[in-house]
Amino acid sequence: MVEAQEDFTQEREIKIIKGNVAAAYAAKSARVQVISAYPITPQTTVVEKLSEFADNGEMPGTQYIKVESEHSVMASIIGASTAGTRTFTATSGQGLFYMYEMVHWAAGARLPIVTTIASRGPAPPWNIWADFTDVISCRDTGWMISFASSHQEIYDDILMSYKICEDHEILLPKFVAYGGFTLSHTSKPVTIEDQDEVDDFLPPLPDERGWPHIFLDPERPMMHGNLIMPSGFYNEFRLKIHYTHTLAKQKIKDASAEFEKKFGRSYGNGLIEEYEMKDAQVAILNYGELAMQMEDAVDDLRNEGYKVGCVKLRYFRPFPVEDIIQIAKKVKVLGVADRATAFGSPTGGPVSSEVKAALYGSGVTTKILPIVMGLGGREVGLEQQKNQLKILIQLNETGVFPKDMIEGTLWDGLLEVE
């Protein structure tokens, strides 16, 4: 068992750092005890920075393990977490896909592992730039999935993640995703919080007895990961994971409120963040960094006299069904912009499909415009986002969907070479 860190302290400090470095600082602030790492672009500098911290003696209570693949990363993290430690790792795109078998295992074993994903487009065609399809592919693994939309939010969300995941009523792993390069490799000021304050916010590190439901202890032997016959409780254990996701919604809101109280930074209600939604007639839902830029687009159109608003989706799993219904009720037209694909789904976009499913049967008649854009790091500029809002305004005024939609979805910003 790793000794608790006692001799290292970090004072509150504002640093101009890359998104990946913010993730590394968050892991350090959370006093993670085991880090297992394998490099993959654009996540690499997360684990590079952490290895630097470990080498400098800035993380004296942390075991840093180098392994030969992402599959081994998650396997070793599962072992470490099973033994009762706070664990961290990071990956991207193809690396996450290689890790996939173990990703299911971590959730099934109910291990509170936190992993950051610097999201990148899946290959082929080979791609390393922002696209959330990688983390979305873990939709049904049982992991909680959140999106960070700013450098500060990467740091903050990782801290909140440990609080949520390690809650004894939750005990689930979580991905914190942010756009590759757009956030991972750009620099912004990030407040690194005082170590004592972070310690106070987070639950205490697990003691030598480990987690309440799973441990490796010769004095208390148990077998886990065992076979369940079809007549056994398999269905019921699956139900428990789903039910825990529904419980987690309130825990996420609570953690977000407590975070705001302690550190002064607010992320909406934790699940979604509304912007200029009070009198908005049309609105658009985004996630990740483009949700931040959309706030500027909304400001610009408000200056032009349009009543528009936007919503930032913070959590994809658990999906905030109730909040989505509430925001849809507020507006006449809701655009849902995906920087990810869900091939063959009702809309082609993962979140727009979920939004449509969430609204079915709720009595809400709001028009939904699914948008897919910015795949593989394709730039989505401010003007393009303003144009998206204008399309929604036009849809509200005329009731006619744009002509260039493809099978019910607006694939915005497709190349047209003359």
Binding site: R110, M222, I228, F233, E236, Y243
Partner: protein
């Protein structure tokens, strides 16, 4: 058998119940676990295709079979002899493979002379 709450699995070995009983999904612990109990998955001897038969005349009572048996189905009796618990032995054959004197023969169940 007592109905137990899942938190009891945290207790030390001697305080834990031998068998956990759950009626529905709400009572279940977060993950399925097995506590050490003989034959928790049933009489696994039924799975056996080959039966290990020990030739007592050659056996030197060295205990290698007892050490290697992955299921703990080889038991040392009062005379110091090693016996197979056929209720649970799955017939994997590891004991026969490891036995230095080759006193254990794996015999197909259909060919075992029970006479």
């Amino acid at each position: 058998m007592n109905k137990v709450k899942w938190k009891n699995i945290c207790e030390a070995k001697d305080k834990r119940p031998e068998v956990q009983e759950y009626k529905n999904w709400k009572e279940l612990p977060p993950i399925p676990i097995s506590l050490p109990i003989k034959g928790s998955i049933g009489t696994t001897g039924d799975w056996r295709t080959f039966k290990p038969i020990v030739d007592r005349e050659i056996c030197t009572k060295c205990g290698i079979c007892w050490m290697y048996c992955p299921e703990g189905t080889i038991i040392r009796n009062d005379k110091g002899e090693f016996e197979v618990d056929y209720i649970y032995c799955k017939g994997c054959g590891i004991c026969a493979k490891e036995c230095p004197t080759k006193c254990i023969e794996m015999v197909r169940e259909s060919e075992v002379n029970y006479g």
